[in-house]
């Protein structure tokens, strides 16, 4: 039994199905809400806070990717306050690691870089933490550069939910959090990795890339995850 609800997004009344999230409904109706950790076909985690929206009757901003629609709900996707929060979130992502866009394999094809431009982030107002982080080059076909990881977890969920291998997870906590394969093994020695490369395609930045592509050359096939999901649902 599919229950229908009516919600208002940026003033427009939209019919939706109960259980859908605000983000899903918005995107299905060509309303743009930015997001980094969300990826169609994966579970939502509400980690990056870029998709925050205003919901009538709720005092704080809520992440659109994890908030279900409800009858009579009124959603606003962009206000000066929302935009300023999104900008802060983006700036903090840059400040945390060493992105150095100019010499990144994903420059020009990076979701973080593009979102920063879209939101008019011309500089970061916080001091950079400049951690010294390794690059894992041990896998024969792929590379993991921790300097460019934003801990969105898309690789973790892709590997766990789509490939079923769950090679990746996030270890540590706070500023020390980092992506880990198995028990902190070098990627090339991870026995559960099938080398399918879907994590690389899911990565929004240059943190994961195919080996051998030079700066600016790494373009990703972002739809691989949603295509697989929809094909499986269809079968």
């Amino acid at each position: 039994m599919v229950e229908k609800v009516k919600v208002r997004i940026d003033g427009e009344v939209i019919a939706a199905t109960a259980g859908q999230t605000i983000l899903e409904v918005a995107r299905a109706n060509s309303k743009y809400i930015p997001a980094l950790c969300y990826m169609e076909g994966l579970s939502a985690t509400g980690a990056c806070r870029l998709c925050v929206v205003e919901v009538s009757g709720v005092a704080r901003l809520v992440p659109a990717c994890t908030t279900p629609v409800a009858e009579g709900q009124s959603v606003v996707t962009s206000t000066p306050q929302i935009e300023s929060y999104r900008k802060i979130a983006l700036e903090l992502l840059f400040a945390e690691r060493n992105h150095v866009c100019a010499v990144c394999v994903s420059s020009g094809h990076c979701e973080l870089q593009a979102l920063a431009q879209e939101h008019g982030v011309t500089h970061v107002r916080y001091p950079y933490s400049c951690p010294r982080l390794p690059v894992d080059t041990t896998h024969p076909r792929y590379v993991l550069d921790h300097n460019r990881c934003i801990l969105c977890g898309r690789c973790v969920r892709t590997c766990a939910e789509i490939e079923g291998a769950h090679v990746w997870d996030v270890a540590g906590r706070g500023i020390g959090s980092h992506l880990v394969s198995e028990l902190q093994r070098p990627w090339g020695e991870a026995t559960t990795c099938t080398s399918c490369g879907k994590c690389v395609q899911a990565c929004p930045t240059g943190a994961m890339a195919e080996k051998g592509w030079a700066v600016e050359e790494m373009t990703k096939h972002k739809t691989v995850v949603s295509r697989l999901t929809s094909m499986r649902e269809g079968s």
């Binding site: 291998a165 769950h166 996030v170 906590r173 500023i175 020390g176 880990v180």
Partner: protein, 176 residues
């Protein structure tokens, strides 16, 4: 897979222990935390060896990366062998303003521990595994600042000289 597993397995008696612990916890949601806690408790050096973590993953079906994520998220768990004695120095705000950093540096010097930690948690163990020095975010005893915990006993208003004496005493004890 079988080959890599064979190399990484813990000793047979440890396997038995892990199997027993897992058996006790079987089916409980969030069982992993309890398993790891018991495992660390049973370890002579109070830590979780990599082989044990791998075996836990194998037996519980929890992915290795998730086991590792849990083991590194909680400050309670150690991935390195701990010393016989533990000196935990608080670096909460109150203790910090009352000179806990100097206490830490002094103890490190006394025990010949050199490297400095940059992460939010610092744990250093002497090569002879007699002492582990670590920092703690807050003991909740701010009125007693600076606070140091020695072998699970809290000391308040700690002075440098008193701390040195106490650690020296433990060192001589350990030497006997």
């Amino acid at each position: 897979m079988s080959n890599a597993l064979a190399m990484a397995l813990p000793r047979v008696e440890d396997q038995d222990l892990i199997d027993r612990i897992i058996g006790d916890q079987a089916g409980r949601p969030g069982a992993l935390l309890g398993i790891l806690e018991k495992l660390q408790d049973a370890n002579r050096h109070k830590y979780l060896p990599m082989e044990s973590l791998e075996y836990v993953a194998l037996r519980t079906g929890v992915p290795q990366s998730q086991v590792y994520g849990v083991a590194t998220f909680y400050a309670l768990f150690n991935l390195d062998p701990q010393g016989t004695h533990t000196v935990a120095i608080c670096r909460g705000t109150a203790c910090h303003t009352r000179g806990s950093r100097a206490l830490l540096e002094r103890v490190k010097l006394q025990l010949g521990l050199e490297e400095s930690g940059t992460a939010d948690k610092l744990t250093l163990t002497t090569p002879d595994r007699k002492f582990t020095v670590r920092t703690v975010a807050c003991f909740g005893q701010c009125a007693l600042a600076p606070v140091v915990e020695i072998d699970h006993a809290i000391r308040g208003h700690v002075k440098e000289q008193a701390l040195i004496r106490e650690v020296d005493l433990l060192r001589k004890e350990a030497a006997r």
